[in-house]
């Protein structure tokens, strides 16, 4: 693939020597943080649509009692497991950290690129390989014998269900390999972000002047470096238990399956903050931009994220209240978990205080941001409910939990993702989106996702357990509402895709700064899209 001729054909008015959009080597061998960011976003979009389609299969199945879509529970459980893993590892994380992080951390801190551009390339290209392994696992045997395929033990991968007893086939091994590769990808990416932010800020850009999005990625990257190796360790133990006769989680050999849960959630709880912290950063930028005010309590906002990250490592066992731990241990985890509500409350308060008295512009990204603040608070409140060990005894593994974490992730992290998407769309792609289409996307998603998940609180309180393919007719009413909600979101998602195509076809020329005086971060000082290589002269921050 020669990029020279392509550049000549495309060049002319570009003086930044960017290779052709259609050059394969530009993408395969890319060391450019903006191109890699785009790759991450496209990959996340692709994986997200698959994960979204899987949730459609689940909602169609649960529309009424009995079997509609799936032939047996194993198939259903494989789809729920894959939905969870895809959305976490191949949609939210690549989009928020790999996508927006790669695109905007260097731009915001005034760096020409990431510190290790070639490692950045490896970080991305490990992901499609990992995703392929995960997809492949659905089509290979679940058990040593029998026709069942895929791993259906839930995204938490608890043994003995994920051991040879529950899934003796090669499917679970592929899931382990997939997550190992995804984990390596994320750790390399995280190291790259930390090195970039700590060493490559423009002159005058002190840590305490750095935009909150860069702060959020810095903290997220630290969580990744400290949490993901623990998952890798737990998965390696699982792998050797399954294949090489070790007994880490096998009681017959003196092991304990509960230890897997401890290791998993030592990773898993920081992981949920890994998914939401970059979103916090995006929301801070957007709320400040469209209120035309600096963020209220900037330092408190930054250190609230540090506090959330730190506390995130010492609350893991609140995911496992029902394993039989002592009452004092439970009391500790209840108290520690509730403490997280304090820094989170600081953030919610500061966003509202930023809007207070501001000159608010209800653009599409601002709608997503306000929608996020509202819905994330709902999810946070149910989180405080679930933090109580006594309450959790009755709500553990019910739809109440499902509703809770979808409010903070599906309606929280995903809303921040779309907020960032519309906030930076012009900047990244050099074209304007259609405000009407984007607005319709927001309202349909906002209404639809609430119709999906709000009734699931009721289902959970009534006792509907999660990961069940069928249920008693008593639960049918709210399940039907939930499925209708999915259809609304599906229409919204279709409109979202139409919006992308419309903007590309119409090709309305982007402005360098469409948002006016409220947009104060460095990326708005560059053209849209930014030049292929920026900051040949480093910006100076006063």
């Amino acid at each position: 693939m020669s990029s020279d001729s392509a550049t000549a054909a495309h060049g002319g008015h570009h003086d930044d020597h960017s290779p052709s959009l259609y050059s394969l080597s530009r993408w395969l061998f890319s060391t450019n943080h903006k191109d890699i960011g785009t790759l991450y976003l496209v990959f996340a979009l692709f994986a997200g649509l698959i994960g979204f389609a899987f949730s459609g299969l689940m909602r169609a199945e649960l529309f009424e009692t009995g079997f509609q879509v799936f032939e047996d529970g194993q198939q259903y459980n494989v789809i729920t497991t894959m939905h969870g893993l895809i959305m976490i590892f191949f949609m939210v994380m690549p989009a928020l950290i790999g996508g927006f992080g790669n695109w905007f951390v260097p731009l915001m801190i005034g760096a020409p690129d990431m510190a290790m551009p070639r490692m950045n390339n490896i970080s991305f290209w490990l992901l499609p390989a990992s995703f392929a392994l995960l997809m492949l696992s659905m089509f290979v045997p679940a058990q040593a014998t029998g026709d069942a395929t895929g791993f259906g033990g839930g995204w938490v991968l608890y043994p003995p269900l994920s051991g040879t007893v529950g899934h003796g086939g090669v499917a679970m091994d592929l899931v382990i390999f997939s997550l190992h590769v995804a984990g390596i990808s994320s750790i390399l990416g995280a190291i790259n972000f930390i090195v970039t932010i700590l060493n490559m800020r423009a002159p005058g850009m002190t840590l305490h002047k750095m935009p909150l999005f860069a702060w959020s990625v810095l903290i997220t990257a630290f969580l990744l470096v400290l949490a993901l190796p623990v998952l890798a360790g737990a998965l390696t133990m699982l792998l050797t238990d399954r294949n090489f006769g070790s007994k880490f989680f096998v009681p017959a050999g003196g092991g304990d399956p509960i230890m897997f849960q401890h290791l998993f959630w030592f990773f898993g709880h920081p992981e949920v903050y890994i998914m939401i912290l970059p979103g916090f950063g995006i929301i801070s930028q957007i709320v400040s931009t469209f209120s035309r005010k600096p963020v209220f309590g900037y330092l408190a906002m930054a250190y609230a994220m540090v506090a959330i990250g730190f506390i995130g490592f010492i609350v893991w066992a609140h995911h496992m209240y029902t394993v039989g731990m002592g009452v004092e241990l439970k009391a500790y985890f209840v108290a520690a978990t509730m403490v997280i509500a304090v820094p989170t409350g600081v953030k919610i308060f500061s966003w509202i205080a930023t809007m207070w008295g501001g000159s608010i512009d209800f653009t599409v990204p601002m709608l997503w941001a306000i929608g996020f603040i509202f819905l994330f608070t709902v999810g946070g409140v149910t989180g405080v409910v679930l933090a109580n060990a006594g309450v959790d005894y009755s709500l553990h593994d019910t739809y109440y939990v499902v509703a809770h974490f979808h409010y903070v992730l599906s309606l929280g992290a995903v809303f921040t993702l779309f907020a960032g998407w519309y906030y930076w769309y012009e900047k990244m792609f050099g074209v304007k989106y259609n405000g009407m289409i984007a607005g319709a996307h927001f309202w349909l998603t906002f209404i639809g996702s609430n119709v999906i998940f709000f009734p699931q609180h009721f289902l959970g309180l009534q006792g509907m357990p999660r990961r069940y393919v069928d249920y008693t007719p008593a639960f049918e009413y709210w399940h039907q509402w939930s499925t209708y909600g999915y259809y609304i979101v599906a229409v919204g998602t279709g409109i979202f895709l139409i919006g992308i195509i419309e903007s590309m076809v119409r090709h309305r020329k982007a402005e360098a700064n469409p948002w006016g005086e409220g947009a104060t971060t460095l990326e708005w000082t560059l053209s849209s899209p930014p030049p292929f290589h920026q900051y040949n002269d480093l910006p100076r921050i006063r």
Binding site: I191, L198, A252, G326
Partner: protein, 188 residues
């Protein structure tokens, strides 16, 4: 790359490797923690005889299980024993290999309620090492234990009036194919 970046990269890579190492260190730490604290009903191995026998009754129930893939018949010889705190008790289990091949087996154990694990001391137990069970033979398996009198002074555990001692037999390092149960119900 400038020297500052290199130091950052090396320390971060070190942190990642360190966390990986810690996750494996969790295994010995976890089992030490259980042994020391009696967490999850882990019983203690007595290194000294009981300090005293006090006049506080305790009932110890006996429970026996076998994993689905081990063809043994395993049961206690008595349902329960009534004792006093600090009193040393001898009881027996019986295990029969119902297959045609020798089986190497090992028993996992704990007590319920979990909070009694710290006070349940075994002086001698068949569960301390793995056994080879000859085909068709029935063996009597002794367990000698006492419940330590300190139980009565623990404000969180003094309500315990009865403790269930439970064993589950597992195949140790796999069992020969000839000894495997032909249908799932045979083993349990």
């Amino acid at each position: 790359m400038n020297p500052g970046s290199r130091i950052t990269v090396i320390s971060l890579a070190g942190a990642a490797v360190g966390m990986l190492a810690l996750s494996f260190a969790a295994e010995p730490l976890y089992s030490t923690f259980c042994r020391v604290t009696g967490f999850g009903g882990t019983t203690q191995i007595a290194d000294a005889p009981p300090s005293a026998v006090i006049d506080r009754p305790i009932r110890v129930r006996f429970d026996a299980n076998a994993a689905t893939d081990i063809p043994v018949d395993f049961k206690p010889t008595e349902e329960f024993v009534d004792a006093k705190l600090g009193e040393t008790i001898l009881s027996f289990y019986e295990v029969t290999n119902i297959s045609d091949a020798p089986i190497r087996a090992v028993a996992a154990y704990n007590v319920a309620p979990y909070k009694a694990g710290k006070y349940f001391n075994k002086v001698e137990c068949f569960c301390f090492k793995e056994k080879t069970l000859q085909p068709g033979r029935t063996e009597r398996l002794p367990v000698i234990f006492f419940v330590s009198p300190e139980l009565a002074d623990d404000r969180y555990a003094s309500d315990v009036k009865s403790i269930t001692l439970s064993y589950t037999y597992y195949p140790a390092g796999g069992i020969p194919d000839s000894a495997r149960p032909q249908d799932a119900s045979a083993g349990s």
